[in-house]
């Protein structure tokens, strides 16, 4: 009986760690992408990108809610009051929005991983997560359609479009590999059939993104000689995360008890 409880505790810790990684990625990237609202390159794209940023926040809220159900604080508290080193997001989502080509490439590389990840999680043995993952399917499909169409458009574009989008790919790639930084709980997540694990996800992701990039005439970075930007999953972040969190929580912190 003692052993069973111990396993259960370990399992719960592993699930919580997974949920924090997923939700923090979405919250931070959702916030980053929303920084384009009102400043997007054209009105139509501004609206589309802002709407997808809202989808991300909604998805993170659903995952924080699930964390709350398994014993963590309420969604607002965990989203807005943790210390920077308690966030589990990857470095890719922390970077400033840069120029639009950077934000688009990040959106492509990240959302392709999300679409595969949540598709895999649709068959998770942790049923509440499987259920939520299935709900995300439509939104994520649109996000990847949007991203793939843009990458293709810019890769075949005139003027400096192909060179700019190639430069963003080269800049984003080491950061994107950081999405798949293994957690300390890979064995238990895989063993308990909660998640197939980051290694398998990365393989599936490469299989999905490389054909799109090739189709867009882009040069694939030399993956073997790239150092993935790890650390985020362990709470070690880039210099960009703290200012983002300060800005994101500025209003919340004025009155944490306010009803919205």
């Amino acid at each position: 009986m003692k052993e069973f409880n111990e396993l259960n505790d370990k399992k719960t810790t592993a699930i919580k760690d997974l949920l924090y990684r997923l939700a923090d990625d979405q919250l931070i990237l959702g916030h980053r992408n929303s920084e384009w609202t009102g400043l997007g390159p054209i009105l139509e794209e501004d609206i589309a990108f802002s709407s997808m940023a809202q989808d991300k926040l909604g998805q993170s809220q659903a995952l924080y809610q699930l964390l709350h159900q398994i014993g963590e604080d309420d969604p607002d508290t965990i989203a807005f009051t943790r210390k920077v080193n308690e966030y589990k997001c990857c470095h890719l989502v922390e970077y400033p929005i840069g120029e639009y080509n950077f934000s688009l490439m990040r959106h492509f590389l990240f959302d392709m991983s999300e679409a595969i990840r949540f598709n895999m999680l649709g068959s998770s043995s942790f049923e509440p997560l499987a259920k939520i993952s299935k709900k995300f399917k439509g939104e994520l499909k649109y996000h990847t359609m949007h991203a793939v169409t843009w990458i293709n458009q810019l890769g075949h574009g005139s003027g400096n479009s192909p060179a700019k989008i190639q430069a963003s790919l080269d800049e984003c790639f080491p950061l994107a590999l950081g999405i798949f930084e293994p957690s300390g709980y890979e064995d238990i997540l895989i063993g308990e059939k909660i998640f197939f694990g980051e290694k398998e996800l990365q393989e599936k992701w490469l299989e999905a993104v490389i054909p799109v990039l090739k189709n867009a005439n882009l040069k694939i970075p030399d993956i073997k000689n790239i150092k993935a930007s790890y650390g985020g999953r362990k709470g070690i972040h880039t210099e960009y995360l703290k200012p983002l969190i300060d800005e994101m929580t500025e209003v919340y912190k004025i009155d944490t008890k306010a009803e919205w």
Binding site: L39, I42, E44, A48, H146, T149, Q153
Partner: protein
């Protein structure tokens, strides 16, 4: 001096207070597409508006968020505005008709007398 705004995104761009504004006329604009929205399979597609896009694939992608993020939608059509052929407002008068043509309207046919007569006859027959 750069612009100091309440919006931190503007402030950190370090934009000059007096922008070196260039005329906008040389900016290349994308063409417009007309968007049609279908709420149920089999229903007609209804025109909901237009948008700018460089090609039809991009038009569909952008139309999704412009015109169907709130209402239910199962399909979107996009058509280049330039491909729409119209009768033209200069011909608006072709839609005007002489008002006294009641024979072209269902209401122009007075049939209640005949129906009442038929009902009366049937009643008598069944008695």
């Amino acid at each position: 001096m750069s612009i100091k705004s309440l919006d931190p995104r503007i402030t950190r761009e370090n934009l000059p207070e007096e922008p070196d504004s260039k005329p906008l006329e040389n900016i290349h604009h994308w063409q417009t597409y007309e968007v049609f929205h279908q709420t149920k399979k089999g229903d007609r597609h209804i025109h909901v508006g237009s948008l700018h896009a460089p090609n039809q694939e991009m038009a569909v992608i952008l139309a999704k968020e412009q015109y169907s993020r709130r209402d239910k939608c199962v399909n979107l059509w996009v058509v280049k505005t330039a491909d729409i052929f119209s009768s033209g407002y200069e011909n608006e008068d072709i839609f005007e008709t002489t008002p006294e043509k009641t024979y072209r309207e269902a209401g122009g046919y007075k049939v209640m007398d005949k129906i009442n007569k038929f009902k009366k006859e049937r009643k008598q027959q069944s008695n």
